[in-house]
Each structure stands twice: as C-alpha cells, then as structure tokens.
Symmetry: C2
Subunit: 332 residues, 2 copies
C-alpha cells in the first residue's frame, strides 16, 4: 500500500499554490501495538486551513514546514492493533491530507455510515455543523422574530446557520455570490431572502430585507460585507465572528471594519467563535442536528471533488467562491 | 440680563472651528408659568459633542444648524414659576452652551453643592463617572486579579475607570499622552502602570505590563491604540467601546481595527456602551461613587477653563490631547 500525502513546503504568500506543498508517495507501514491504520476516504477542505499555514500564535498551532498538511478526515480502519478500534470501523479525525494514516487512536471518533453518508460527518455532523450550531445559538443568541443575516450563506457553515435560524423562529437573510447560490439558499435551505453580492453593493438588499435592522449577523467573510452589515445593526445586535475568508489571502494588513463604531451607537456586541471550545457539547449538538435531519428540517450540501492529487487546486475553490456547500476531497 | 450663547452654524469638516458656530448675546426673558430660569455656571465639554455636530442617525439626534449647541450643564435657579424648583437650587441638565437657560424642568436634576464642588457633577458624579462605572462594571465585567487596560487614562472617563478597576481588585494599566499625564495616572489615580503613547509604539509597554494578556480593554480612542491592544488580548477578553476620539475629526473614513480577528482567535468580545441606557441606575452609581470619594478611594480632576466666549477653542483641547481630567467651561 502506498500513502499519498501533501506536506507544507513553504508558507504561502497570498493564495496557496502547488509549490507551497510537496506531494509524496511513501509505503504504508504496519500499525504497531496500540496503533491502527486508517484508509482515508474523505478530506475536509476548510477556509481555516489557510490560517494554519501562517506562522505565529493563533487559536491552534501552525502547521510546520515539512509537516503533513493538517485536515479533518473520515476514513475506514483497515488494520488495527488497538483494543478500541476494529477493521471495518469508520472514524473521523484530523489525520491530514493523506490517503492512509497511522494513529494511536487519540482524537478519533467512530462514525456510523448507516446513519448518514460519510461526507455528512465532515459537514453538518462535523466541524461546520458544530460551528454553526454553537456560533449561532450560544454566541448569537437569536430570539424568535429576530432577523439573522448570514454571509457565505451557501457555504459549509452558512447553510446550517440559516436553517437553524429558521428552526428557531427567526427571519433568515443570506448573502452569497451568484444567482445559483442565492436560489439554493432560498429554495433549498429556506432562507427568507438571499442577497447576491456579485450583483453590486449589498446595502440596498439589506435595507429592503432587514427593514428593522439586523439582530444577529453571522460573519464568515469580513471585509466590505461586514462593514455593510455593521451599518445596518439594530439596537443590542450580536455579531458572531466566525471567519473572514475575504481577508485570509491578503498580502497587506487585513481591512478592519470601518463601521465598528456601530457597536457603540447600537450598544451591539461582536464576539468570536472557535468551535473547539464546545467540544464537550458536540454530542448534544449532533443528536439535535440528527433529529432535525430526520425530520427533514435540516439539509446540507457537499461539493465533493475526486482525487487527493488535486488538493492544492481544489483548496482554492474556497477562496475564489467556486465551492457550493461543504468542500470535500474524495481520496480515491 | 444677557444670555451669551453659541449656536451651531455649519457642520464641521475635520476639527470644529469658530466659524462653525455663531456667538450671540440676547436678552434673557422671564420664565412663564411652569418654567424656571437657570444661570449656568459650568458647561461640560465632551468628545461626544463632535459627533453630535454631524448629520445622520446616531445614538442621539444631531444638533441642527441654528440650534444652540448641546452640552451638559450645572447651574443655579435664579427665577422660578415651577412648583418643584426654587431660587437657589442647583441643577444639572443638558442646557447647552449658553449662560442662561429657560426650562420647563424636564431633564433637570437637583444637585447639592455641599456634598461636592459643582464641577464634580459634570465629572465623577456626572456622565463621565456614570460611563466609567457602567461601562467597566457592566460591559467589561472585570474579575479580581484580571488586567484592565484603559486608554485616555487621564481623561474624564479614564481616570474613573482605572480607579474602579483597582477598587475591584484588578491590575490597572493606563495609556496616556505625555509624562505628566502618566505620572498623574500612576501617582494620583493608582494605576499600576501607564504607557506614554507619545514616546513611541505602545506594544512593548503592553507586553511588559500585561504579561498574561489583557482581560478588559476600555477604549476611548480607537485607531492604532485599539489595534495594539487587540493584538494583546487574553482568552475571553472584553473590549468596551466607549469612544474613538482619534477618529472623530477624520475627513476620510475612520480606520477600522485591523486586528479585529483577535476577537476570533481569543474568543473575545467587543461591545459598545452608551451611558444613557443606564439612567435608571444613575442614583445607585452616584451613591457608590460618593461613598468611594468619602473613603478617599476615588479622586477626580477637572480642567476648568474660564469664559464661555472661549468655547470653540476650548473644545479643541479635547482633540489635541491638551486637557487633563474632565474639561469644563466655567461661564463667568
């Protein structure tokens, strides 16, 4: 067996490119006592990966040069000398951009392919779903009747946020790039409206769809869109900072929100969410989300790309707005 | 009797200048039934006044062109046909930049010159004190042992914030302009340290004095100082947005905080305070502050400038960093 893998070769400047990684094919070794071998089926591609390539302190240590690129994974146990994992088990973990991974079991969680298709465990039942659930409900604290605005509304996290907002009795207004994504947000996900930022400034759409102002803004993008929504906050609004994908590839300092004094004028709050803080409650969220899925209230879409060899180029789909739903790399 | 007053004549571009106001001297009329006449002794000069001169929605309506410039005041009742106010009473209110004011009594609160000198009612016992009290304690929520950083530490609000932080068992680190203000903050107010931003970048001072990071940042200034402190936040920090004096006279869009993603990395919160929201609890705060004053734990300094005629120039002391403590205009 051959393990196909990508290591970080250089710290990217701007967008990551193929030469920032080294692709290797190396023989797979047998697991030692206490270890197991996982055949990786699906690799999660996430905007946060771009941040992990940068040096310096963040909410998680950076990936080192020469290290296998960090990524969330779903795989199948194909050999085991570990008492708790058996051949045929499926596991989610953070096993990186590789096709086979040896593990001592730490950080692996068994998943059941009969309950949901495997990619769902990287999506609604994985980090994006957990991020949406805790970010919206715990940080955003939406109340019935409030207006919730979500950027990257057709992305991995955004698609879930909008649907939970609706389940909780809120008005959900999405922001997404292109008519296709906006149609998906409204017709499939149940957003009340979706503003296409590629058609021009979003402020008129915000004014129209958030006549009384924005109570909760779930921000995945930063930049001009964050500024536009800040200008439309309602009193005591909550702005959930989940990401800033518009800024991750900057080669200049990031653009700070020029309208941040709207927080003062409106006695509003802006607060960050990092999903790992909520790990002790993942099971609760997964159970609730599973129930909503069973009831047909919670849909999710994956954008599955074939071939681990395409990793560097496929990752870029996140940053040029090409992905639609959760971006997942299928290894084989 | 002649009323000396300043009306807003034009919406300032950048710093307000004398030609943005008209100075008038007009006869004082007698109060009608249900009215009283106040001789204004002290006029509060506040950074927020610059914002009130701008058009458009904010937390309070703008001052209209031709309207007497809005300002907090302390004065003495010199004539009354109002049942609840009598000649010789002292009152605080928002009677504007004028030397005499007719009122129907709404918005006026009696103050006792025997309990504290009159200017204190525009300072620690007035809006700056209330802003410090509720902004720090309710929005910042400092816990004993935490590190509280305060910008404009020798200003009207900052001087109170630092002392309350110390009373609550926190480490208090100020940021101010110039050795004199920094010495005052440390030696008179009891700040543990004060960083002089005029001596160079403040980041080394923050790193030295906030070794474990900043738990609460009370921001009065915005701009580069806000960015520097954001880069030093501790996990779950609270950033209180009270003002942004560095940005109020901009003729270009204000500078947003480039380091706002520190809120995400550190799961931190940024939230605005507008003191008027806490009006129902002013009495509680004034009583507590009065007790601390009596115990010698809470000092405050006013910068009293003589002569209502100097209003346009005196106001500028706030924006060029010349004032030291609460800036007050003494009418006569």
């Amino acid at each position: 067996m051959i393990n196909k893998l990508f290591k970080l070769a250089a710290r990217p400047v701007g967008m990551a490119k193929r030469s920032d990684f080294t692709y290797e094919e190396v023989p797979v070794r047998e697991p030692a006592e206490g270890e197991l071998l996982v055949k990786v089926h699906y690799i999660s591609l996430d905007p946060a990966m771009r941040g992990w390539m940068n040096p310096g302190k963040s909410y998680i240590r950076p990936v080192e040069i020469g290290e296998i690129m960090r990524a969330g994974t779903i795989g199948e146990v194909v050999a085991s000398r570990h008492p708790q994992f058996h051949v045929g088990d499926y596991v989610s973990g953070t096993q990186g951009v590789q096709s086979y991974a040896i593990s001592d079991g730490r950080g692996l969680v068994k998943v059941d392919p009969r309950l949901a298709p495997l990619p769902k465990y990287l999506n609604v039942l994985g980090m994006p779903g957990m991020t949406a659930y805790f970010g919206l409900l715990e940080v955003g604290q939406p109340k019935p009747g409030e207006t919730v605005v979500v950027s990257a509304a057709a992305g991995a996290v955004g698609q879930i946020v909008g649907q939970i907002a609706k389940i909780k009795g809120c008005k959900a207004v999405g922001i997404a790039g292109g008519a296709e994504k906006c149609d998906f947000a409204v017709q499939e996900l149940g957003y009340d409206a979706c503003i296409d930022y590629k058609r021009g400034p979003i402020f008129p759409g915000l004014a129209q769809n958030c006549a009384e102002g924005v109570d909760v803004y779930f921000d995945n993008v930063g930049g001009d869109i964050l500024d536009a929504v800040l200008a439309r906050l309602r009193m005591r609004a909550r702005v959930v900072i989940c990401g800033a994908i518009s800024q991750y590839n900057n080669t200049t300092p990031i653009a700070g929100p020029k309208n941040y004094l709207s927080l003062l004028v409106n006695r509003a709050r802006m607060e960050g969410i990092v999903v790992f803080d909520w790990a002790s409650r993942y099971a609760e969220a997964a159970q609730q989300m599973g129930q909503w899925m069973a009831e047909g209230k919670l849909k999710s879409r994956e954008d599955v790309v074939q071939g681990i060899e395409t990793f560097p180029e496929t990752l870029l789909k996140l940053f040029n707005g090409e992905n639609f739903g959760k971006l997942v790399l299928q290894v084989a």
